[in-house]
């Protein structure tokens, strides 16, 4: 009898706790949910003060305006190509460099690592004009390559992977070595497959990061059909006064691919980085 009551108590407290966590979740997601509702609101309602969360009258007009004002679908395609390709290249480049930092020994390793890290601290805005000059001299203005090239490497991702690789047991590598496995084979056949979760995380963060960049793609493209999606949203930003409805609508639209990527791969990411490869 007592057991049942205990179990009931635990179940109730479990439910309450879960409810609480859900509330926290809603609080955190609130800005996005709020934007979602505004995108369906009529302009007059947005402009009235007071507590305005749910639309009084649901309207699709904002979405229509958003699609009318800018070729959003074309932009999304551009953003997708850039984000996808550059993320793949980025993982490869980063994995190779991280492998060197984590497993290989070479002189001044720490110094070189710090130099690489230092690149994270160089403000992107200041090198913008110089990079534009370089890219234009290479003839890559208005091309996908020109837009992607600066995203092919990220000190951050190298750092990320290095941390993950360093948690990987060194004894496994030594074992592979003794078995006659070269560094490269170890890299391809053992290290990468076991770190798929981390690689996936890097890919997704790189993808979303590139999807969300604004300034560089704007600088490097002059033709509308090459624009990315973040620029598209600003096309709706009227300097004579912000019109929130269509902007929120466009924001929701461009949120969709990131969301898809997220939901689809969430299990993989959260399944956990394998703690090293060897336990005991």
């Amino acid at each position: 009898m007592i057991c049942n009551r205990d179990r009931l108590k635990r179940n109730i407290s479990g439910i309450i706790i879960q409810g609480l966590y859900l509330c926290v979740g809603l609080m955190i997601a609130f800005p996005i949910i709020y934007a979602f509702f505004i995108s369906f609101m009529e302009p007059s309602q947005v402009l009235t003060g007071g507590i305005n969360i749910l639309p009084k009258r649901w309207t699709f007009e904002n979405y229509r305006t958003a699609f009318r004002s800018a070729p959003l679908m074309r932009f999304m395609w551009n953003s997708f190509v850039i984000a996808f390709v550059s993320s793949i290249v980025r993982i490869i480049v980063a994995a190779m460099a991280a492998f060197a930092f984590a497993f290989l020994d070479f002189p001044c390793k720490n110094v070189i690592f710090m130099i690489m890290l230092a690149s994270m601290m160089i403000p992107a805005d200041i090198v913008l004009v110089a990079n534009y000059r370089t890219v234009s001299q290479l003839g890559w203005i208005n091309t996908y390559l020109g837009m992607m090239i600066v995203f092919f490497v990220s000190a951050l991702n190298i750092f990320m992977l290095r941390q993950s690789f360093m948690s990987f047991s060194i004894s496994l590598k030594e074992a592979a070595h003794i078995d006659g496995c070269s560094n490269f084979k170890f890299f391809i056949r053992i290290l990468l497959p076991t770190n798929v979760s981390t690689l996936m995380t890097v890919f997704i963060t790189a993808f979303i990061g590139t999807w969300n960049t604004y300034l560089w793609p704007l600088m490097v493209t002059n033709r509308t059909e090459m624009r990315t999606v973040q620029v598209g949203v600003t096309m709706l930003n009227f300097s004579e006064g912000t019109v929130y409805g269509p902007i929120m609508a466009a924001s929701m639209i461009i949120l969709v691919p990131s969301l898809i990527l997220f939901l689809a791969f969430q299990k993989r990411i959260v399944a956990g980085m394998m703690a090293g490869g060897v336990k005991g």
Binding site: Q18, Y21, L22, V24, G25, I28, P31, I32, Y34, V46, G49, G50, I51, N52, A94, M96, A97, A100, L104, F106, I112, L117, A118, S119, M120, M121, P123, D125, I126, V127, A130, N131, T134, F152, V153, A155, I158, Q163, M166, S167, N183, T201, T205, I208, N212, Q230, Y244, I247, S251, I254, L255, S258, L259, F262, Q266, I269, V270, G272, A275, K279
Partner: protein, 298 residues
């Protein structure tokens, strides 16, 4: 004996070159697109430049001295440090708490896991717009629900706090995912034995889990530190550095000098100084890495 020696020599030569091959792609790209332009910036900061960025004459340290006497720049350094001191611990700390909450898998885990990581999917410009509306003194929901009459982004006392809140929110998703992965990857036996020993949730979190996920935490702190030191986007979009310079950060100051004023004599030394300050801060965290972070997952 002879054969063994020759064998070792051969490996050594290839081994010497091997790291270079792995590092080459990364460093080539970094070299062309990051190091080279920045070195050029550093060199050019010792010259007087006209509004088109062309070199006029050598002035040595004059630009740097001038910028250090610029009250607005000093204010921006102060703002940036204040911003970093609050946003980094909060964004990692709150993410850690969220990850602890979400670590145990329950029936509705997927829901709040998704919600907790959602901020990551939003771009900065869109997040800025949404929060701007939420914090609008007249139309915004924050004032409406709380009944306050604070001017938020238009008040020099509260503007930086709003930006801190927005930035922390934006960082939550990313940090949360990483810490959650790390926690989920921990050995279950360890956690259970700690539970049995009578440790309460807070003790477990602080004394056991935190040290175990310290590599991840260290990475997140380091990353956040660099990013927050370089933050400029929110200031430029929402407040343009105002009101009265209270949200000006080092990089937003630099950006305005370069684009609005074409004053490269202020912008370049500013970049160099911002970089140096960030470097110092990062080095300090790396000293902590030696002491506080352990990489053995056992």
């Amino acid at each position: 004996m002879q054969r063994a020696k020759a064998h070792i020599k051969k490996k050594t030569l290839f081994q010497k070159i091997e790291p270079v091959l792995y590092l080459a792609p990364a460093f080539l790209l970094l070299g062309v697109f990051t190091y080279y332009p920045f070195l050029k910036t550093i060199v050019e900061s010792f010259f007087r430049l006209n509004s088109m960025g062309e070199i006029r004459e050598f002035v040595g340290l004059e630009n740097i001295i001038n910028i250090l006497h610029n009250a607005k720049f000093i204010q921006s350094i102060g703002n940036t440090l204040k911003f970093v001191v609050f946003s980094v611990p909060f964004s990692v700390g709150i993410a850690f708490i969220l990850a602890m909450i979400a670590s145990k898998k329950r029936t509705i885990s997927p829901f709040y896991e998704t919600f907790f990581s959602l901020p990551m999917a939003m771009s900065m410009s869109v997040s800025a717009m949404i929060f701007e509306l939420m914090f609008s003194p007249t139309l915004g929901i924050v004032n409406a629900i709380s009944g306050l009459d604070i001017k938020w982004l238009n008040d020099k006392h509260t503007a930086l706090w709003v930006i801190i809140i927005i930035q922390v929110w934006m960082n939550l998703g990313y940090n949360f995912l990483f810490i959650l992965s790390a926690i989920r990857g921990l050995s279950v036996d360890l956690l259970e034995s700690a539970n049995l020993e009578g440790a309460n949730a807070v003790q477990i979190a602080v004394k056991i889990i935190m040290p175990l996920v310290s590599p991840t935490l260290f990475f997140l702190v380091c990353n956040s530190l660099a990013k927050m030191m370089m933050m400029s986007g929110l200031s430029l979009i929402l407040t343009k550095g105002g009101p009265q310079g209270s949200t000006e950060t080092m990089i937003s100051f630099m950006y305005k000098q370069a684009t609005e004023n074409s004053n490269y004599n202020a912008a370049y030394p500013c970049a160099v100084l911002a970089f140096s300050i960030t470097m110092v801060a990062t080095l300090i965290t790396f000293i902590y890495e030696k002491k506080g972070v352990n990489y053995d997952m056992q």
